[in-house]
Symmetry: C2
DNA sequence: GTACTGACTAAGCGCTTGCTCAGCATGCTG
DNA sequence: CAGCATGCTGAGCAAGCGCTTAGTCAGTAC
C-alpha cells in the first residue's frame, strides 16, 4: 500500500553506485509489498512482475530468482536497521541518552518501514542458506550493540537489570514486533510511538527519571 | 521437533467432548510442526499427512481442507492464551500481583508452546475470512484484559503510565514475540523467562518494588 | 546502411500443488 | 451370514507454480 518508506529506503542503500536500471527498483518495491502482505511463498513471480508493470519473464533479466529478490530486500533492510542502531549506540551523551535515541529510532523505523520490517523479520526462513547466514550475522550485531550499551549503563550505575541478555532481548523484541502490529491507522505516529517506547525501556532498565 | 507442549495442549482444548479419532490429533500435531517451521503456504498436504503417518487422501476424511486445519489450530491456540490471561487478570491480589502473574504465564506459554505460538501469531493472514474474524475477536479480548488491568492499577495509584494503550501494546507485544525467538537452546527456562519479564513489565508500568 | 545490445514479451515446459475418487479392509449390527 | 459405516490407500486430475525459450524492438556504434 503505502510505498513511500520503501521509496525513501532504497535508492540510498544497496551500496553507493546506483547504476541499476529503474525497473530493478520497481521490482524490489513490488516484491516488498507482496512479501509483506501475503508472505514469500504465497507471492507469485506473476504478482511481483505485474506489480512492477512488466511481464513475468522480465523479472529474470534483473534477478536470477524470486529468492534473490528476497535476499536483496533482507540484506538491505537489516543493513539499514544495524546502521541506525550503531549510529545511536555510538552517538553523544551518556548511556541513558544513547539508549533513548536507539529505542526511539529503532521503534520509529519499524513503524515507518513496517512493510520492509515484516519481510526482514518474518520471512527469514525462506532465505537461501548463504543469504540467511549473512543476515543472521547482522542480526547478531544488532543484539550485541544493544547488550553492550546496557552493560555500559550498568557499569556507570545508570541502569540496573537482573539479566543483561534478557533485557537486551526485550529491548530489540519490542522494536521488532512493532512491524507486526503497526498500521497506518495506529493512533500514534512512528515518532510518538518511538518516544513512548523510549520512556518505557528506560524504566525497564531501572533508569526512570 | 519437540511436540510435548502440543501434546499437552490439545486433548484438553477443542471443547470438552473428546470423541474425535486419535488420527485427527496426529494431523493437528503434524500440521502445527510444519506450519511453525515452514509457514502455512510452504507446507504441503503431503507434508502433514506424512508427518501424521498416513496418505494425503486420509487428511480429507478428518478435515475439509488444509485451511481448516490452520483454523482449528489458531482458534484453539488463541482460546488457550485468552483463558490464561483471564485467569490471571481475575485472580487474587492487587493489580501488581495480577499483572505479574499475567506476564509470567503469558510469557512462559509463548516460550513453552512456541510452535503453536508461531502459527497463532504469524499465520493469521492465511486464515479464511470467517475464521480470521473469530480469531481477531479473541485477540481483541486479550488486549482488553491487559488494558483493563493497567487501568485498574493506575486507579489504585500502583501504576503510572503516559499512555495506557501503548503500555498494553508493549506488554502483549513482549509476550507474543517470545514465540518468534525462543528456542529450546535458550539459556532460560520458560518459567525463568516469565519471572524476568514479569519484573521488567512492572518496572515499565512504574511499579518497581 | 550493418551489427550489436539491453529491456522486454508471448508462449509454454516440467513439475508440484490441493484435492478427489474408486476401491479395500475392518469391525459392528441385525 | 449379509449390510453397512468407518478409516484408509493408490492413482490421478485440473490448476497453478517458477522459470525458460525464441523472438521483437528501440537505441547506439561505426
Amino acid at each position: 500500500m503505502t510505498s513511500t518508506p520503501i521509496a525513501e529506503l532504497w535508492p540510498t542503500l544497496p551500496g553507493g553506485a546506483d547504476t541499476r536500471p529503474e525497473a530493478a527498483y520497481r521490482l524490489l518495491r513490488a516484491a516488498v509489498e507482496s512479501f509483506a502482505e501475503r508472505g514469500f511463498h504465497a507471492t507469485t513471480t506473476r504478482d511481483i512482475a505485474t506489480g512492477a508493470g512488466m511481464s513475468p519473464a522480465a523479472l529474470y533479466i534483473h534477478y536470477p530468482s524470486k529468492a534473490a529478490l528476497l535476499a536483496e530486500i533482507s540484506r538491505a533492510g537489516h543493513a539499514a536497521a544495524l546502521a541506525l542502531v550503531r549510529a545511536a549506540a555510538a552517538g553523544e551523551g551518556d548511556p541513558v541518552a544513547r539508549m533513548r535515541r536507539l529505542v526511539e529510532d529503532f521503534t520509529a523505523w519499524h513503524a515507518r518501514a513496517r512493510t520492509v520490517g515484516r519481510v526482514v523479520n518474518y520471512e527469514l526462513h525462506a532465505l537461501p542458506e548463504d543469504d540467511y547466514a549473512a543476515v543472521a550475522a547482522l542480526r547478531l550485531d544488532i543484539e550485541r550493540e544493544v547488550t553492550a550499551l546496557i552493560e555500559a549503563g550498568c557499569a556507570d550505575g545508570l541502569f540496573e537489570v537482573a539479566e543483561v541478555r534478557t533485557a537486551a532481548r526485550a529491548v530489540t523484541s519490542l522494536g521488532i514486533d512493532v512491524s507486526r502490529w503497526y498500521t497506518e491507522r495506529s493512533s500514534e505516529t512512528p515518532e510518538e510511538l518511538g518516544r513512548h517506547y523510549g520512556e518505557l525501556v528506560l524504566l525497564m532498565l531501572g533508569a526512570g527519571r
